[in-house]
Subunit: 260 residues, 2 copies
């Protein structure tokens, strides 16, 4: 099962305003005081509702983590001790059946929040797709902090609300769409999210393997591959080297995605 772009850093991420920018003199001082202020992805994440003093309190309990490709971030059933915010790279969430069948329930990118767990156990596993950077919050301390930061709590509720809507979109995809519609929806969805992060949506990066895509869409690798070549033949996409796709006829893809 699974395995993707073996160790190579996620292509999509090379385009991020990365370390170079973070170390501009102007920001360096602020970053020393509370690193969250200088966060590249703050505007994308749940942290965007906090002002400077609030950010500082958050910064006090956060630690940043870098994980290599394929490293498990958290495991279904384990005590939910930490929550995470993805700051770079791509993380996949998945659940397994007893016999190894896998369903990927989501891909997370910079700005996405991870770990909202019912009770005190994670409901799913999470694994780094390429190299990934994360902000890690101890759950207890974050929960206590939430009592003082109702804005953040509201934001988390809004976030959960968003995720629920996305989950329902995924249900109609899994339950009612054809392979072609699934692939088209997947591309449109990734493109929209890349745009929101300020990354390129047209030569679109697909950091995950065909197997990952298949397990996300409820298909097999073979069907994913065949569908890609079919779309390529119809000249609606172009497969580029390095896990990139050009959305040659984006309108056609959008039509396919919504069941045209």
């Amino acid at each position: 099962m699974s395995a993707s772009g073996s160790g190579r850093p996620v292509d999509g991420e090379r385009r991020m305003p990365a370390d170079g920018e973070r170390r501009k003199p102007a920001d360096a001082t602020i970053a020393d005081i509370h690193p969250c202020s200088a966060c590249d992805v703050r505007q994308l994440s749940v942290c965007n509702v906090l002002d400077a003093p609030e950010l500082k309190r958050l910064a006090e309990i956060v630690s940043t983590v870098t994980l290599p490709a394929h490293r498990t971030v958290l495991h279904e059933g384990d005590p939910a001790d930490h929550l995470y915010n993805v700051t770079g790279g791509c993380v996949k969430l998945y659940k397994l059946l007893a016999d190894g069948r896998r369903q990927i329930t989501g891909f997370l990118f910079a700005g996405d929040f991870l770990g909202l767990a019912l009770e005190d156990r994670y409901a799913y596993s999470a694994e780094a797709v390429g190299e990934v950077t994360l902000c890690r919050f101890p759950r207890r301390r974050l929960e206590r902090l939430l009592d003082d930061l109702p804005k953040l709590e509201k934001r988390l509720l809004g976030n959960a609300s968003n995720e629920l809507a996305a989950a329902q979109d995924q249900m109609i995809l899994l339950g009612r769409k054809t392979a072609r519609e699934k692939i088209a929806s997947f591309l449109i969805n990734l493109a929209a999210r890349a745009e929101r992060r300020g990354q390129s949506a047209d030569p679109l990066a697909l950091p995950m393997s065909r197997t990952d895509i298949a397990d996300y869409l409820g298909l097999t690798t073979e069907t994913v591959s065949r569908t890609f070549t079919q779309l390529k033949t119809r000249r609606v996409i172009t497969l580029l080297p390095g896990g990139m796709v050009a959305l040659t006829d984006r309108l056609a893809i959008e039509e396919l995605a919504s069941g045209g």
Copy 2:
């Protein structure tokens, strides 16, 4: 598409501690002051975190609604003006594709919360399966109230968290389970929820039509029907009149549900 037990009240509900109990003299006075105190399903719902004075404030903005079978509760894309709590009966949530294909994303029963909408539009439609009773909250006023009732807000976040976990279970069901496993999971899931509500889980009520079940599980009516008869033939379930099923061999069903 769809249609179920046309007008007949949901069987499962007949067993609820209904009017007789609600009208005991002791409760009647309290109910007059603030009806939420006498609510049959309070212990099941998000309201269970509130104490008497808080309940009273909630009661001030709530109104109760009764809808006949097949009545639309809310419609995808409409302004999200109200939130609801189901107090009796069954509500189905669904999304449609342009050509009419439908995915039911959930069935709600007494105690379940409805309407958490992203932005200010509903992300799905909701329709009464049998006759349904609901508590209705104006969204604006509830949101304002939430500022004063952090406990309730926390509870809603926990609730959303639960729903996300359920959504992920549904994704693995839709994406990776066979028809038989889907039906088995469905029965086990409904049985567990009936138990939690204090209703009978073994002769289990199925208030929804075969078409609804199909649209929930990503199947067709025919396949749902065939799978039920198959399970009947294998003596793991018994189909009873009035939309009831006996889980003759619950262990076998549980094994099937988890991919045995």
